[in-house]
Amino acid sequence: MNLFTIPLRNIRRRPSKTLLLLLVFSLGVMSIVALYQVSLVVGYSLEKKLTTFGANIVISPATEKLSVSYGGFHLGDMVFDVQELPEGKTSQAIRSIKLQDRIAAVAPKLVSMTKIGDTSIALVGVHWPEERGIKSYWAAANGRFPEKPDEILVGSQAASKLGMQVGDVVSIYGKNFSVSGILFKTGSDDDSVILVELGVLQTLLNRPDATSFIEVAALCAGCPIEDIVDQISMKLPNTEVKALQNVINQRMASVHFVQKLALSVSLVILVTAAAMIGLSMLSAVNERKKDIGILRSLGYGKSQVFMIFCLEAGFIGALAGFIGYVGGFGASFKALEYLALSEGAVPVFAVAHLLLASAVFALITIVAAVYPAWKGASVDPTTALVAL
């Protein structure tokens, strides 16, 4: 028996009223938790889908650049001391960072210049599965994607420049390649290059394991991209790791939109539920003036009367937080199933989150009950005695 016994017994006195209040607040918490879980999963799923529209981190070897001018004429920039990235070691290093679960795809590339006839053209060596994974927007306008090592894919601009057709055989570095397909216009650098299997190009150039740069598609919903960039930089000290902010910002804007929408709806529900608790406590103060009078006559101070109302609200909040979290968690599965949104991702239950939810909602109800509790505590004993 202590001060907490008083609000606890009072709650028991009016079970139907308490249950109704608990039900309403629990439903509020349930909606918030379900919305939060759904937004998390949908955000993750959305980001995963968006990842297929391009990489957001580029890793290139550290280079030295020198700006050359002579006699007042600017002669352009000179890049020297260009190093290559060893494919195996670099890819392994990227895949072994702490946030490795956020790495969706690693696509290495080797770039080389060659001449076909009299026309200079860039050759880009890629791994087809990884490349197509981060560039799902690619489509072959004619033909198909390469399936054999001696097949190449030609960008639309490069094909028209070289007058290439699907099925043509081209000699590159003395090896014959068949044009398996021509890309649709993508509006990117891919339009003006010839794409070839990376391993084949490495052999032709006699640069085994060499890459010019590596594109990485990282999922940034759960952590800032800066963390991933920092971790890769730590693993690869002599490289330049750059986050493509535009891509990230666009991607995150979509994810944040979903999360902000869920947050706004949650806030409305929360304010409504808190207002209900506040109103209920306010009416309880008026109903319980007699109780306040008895307690004051027994020497209970304002702070103790204040505490009784806050404890009562806090208890309902904590219980509603508990019930709501468990209910909301279950409801999020149903919602994701119903909306077919999860794409393999599932909400994750954490006991710490459950306890945190109980504590947070207890605190919210206490805040909502502050005014009624203060009003109750401020009831003058004389006024309370009139109620007696």
Partner: protein
């Protein structure tokens, strides 16, 4: 032990100041049984509320032992009501959702620290004293009016109060039950408890050692 000098108390009614106590002076000795009598609206309950510190006077001095209670901050007055002073009312005023035992222990439940076993034993002894030991776990709604008043008295016993203020303690009871309650109050008084009782029953008032008659906020004798 408890003295009031020139106590004045006014209430505001419809924007009008109504004087309820007009420079009232009272002196109550330790162990005394004093009854306060008067017609309805004469100011007897207000005087009891002022003496028990439930209501602060507008002016005048209220002394308990050597302390001037008029100068006490709210917290010290609360402590005094938790320890030395006990008040029982006409309508018993128990919290309906607490058991008889919990109501008896209510003065000790004002913090989050659990009530000690010793206090619980004292409460059970108090309930035994007023003949309600077997009803400790019941809710007040299941008790008769007389039993409820006895719970209120047991509550005063448990905290070892020095002064018991009773506002018409028999007012809502039938004659027989009223007599039992008065018998209990007399018993406690004989054991050394100071009792200040407001009543409009001349029979009960005459049981006190001294009677203070009040009329229109002034003591007439």
């Amino acid at each position: 032990m408890l003295s009031a000098y020139n106590i004045t108390k006014n209430y505001q009614t419809n924007g009008r100041v109504v004087p309820v106590l007009k420079e009232v002076s009272v002196n109550i000795s330790e162990g005394e049984f004093v009854s306060i009598v008067g017609r309805s609206g004469s100011g007897k309950t207000t005087l009891l509320n002022v003496l028990s510190t439930l209501v602060r006077p507008d002016s005048g001095e209220l002394k308990y032992r050597d302390d001037n209670l008029a100068l006490f901050p709210e917290k010290r007055l609360n402590r005094l009501r938790q320890s030395d002073f006990a008040v029982i009312f006409q309508f018993h005023h128990l919290l309906p959702y607490l058991s008889v035992l919990e109501n008896t222990l209510l003065p000790f439940m004002s913090s989050l620290r659990p009530v000690s076993k010793q206090r619980v034993q004292q409460a059970r002894a108090g309930l035994e004293r007023v003949g309600l030991a077997d009803k400790a776990d019941r809710l007040p709604g299941n008790l008769s009016g007389g039993e409820q008043q006895r719970v209120a008295i047991a509550r005063a016993l448990v905290k070892s109060s020095r002064v018991l203020f009773a506002d018409e303690p028999t007012g809502s009871l039938d004659k027989e039950t009223g007599k039992q309650i008065m018998g209990l109050l007399m018993e406690l008084h004989q054991e050394g408890l100071t009792v200040v009782m407001v009543t409009h029953e001349p029979g009960y008032a005459s049981l006190a050692e001294r009677t203070i008659a009040i009329e229109d906020g002034t003591i007439v004798h």
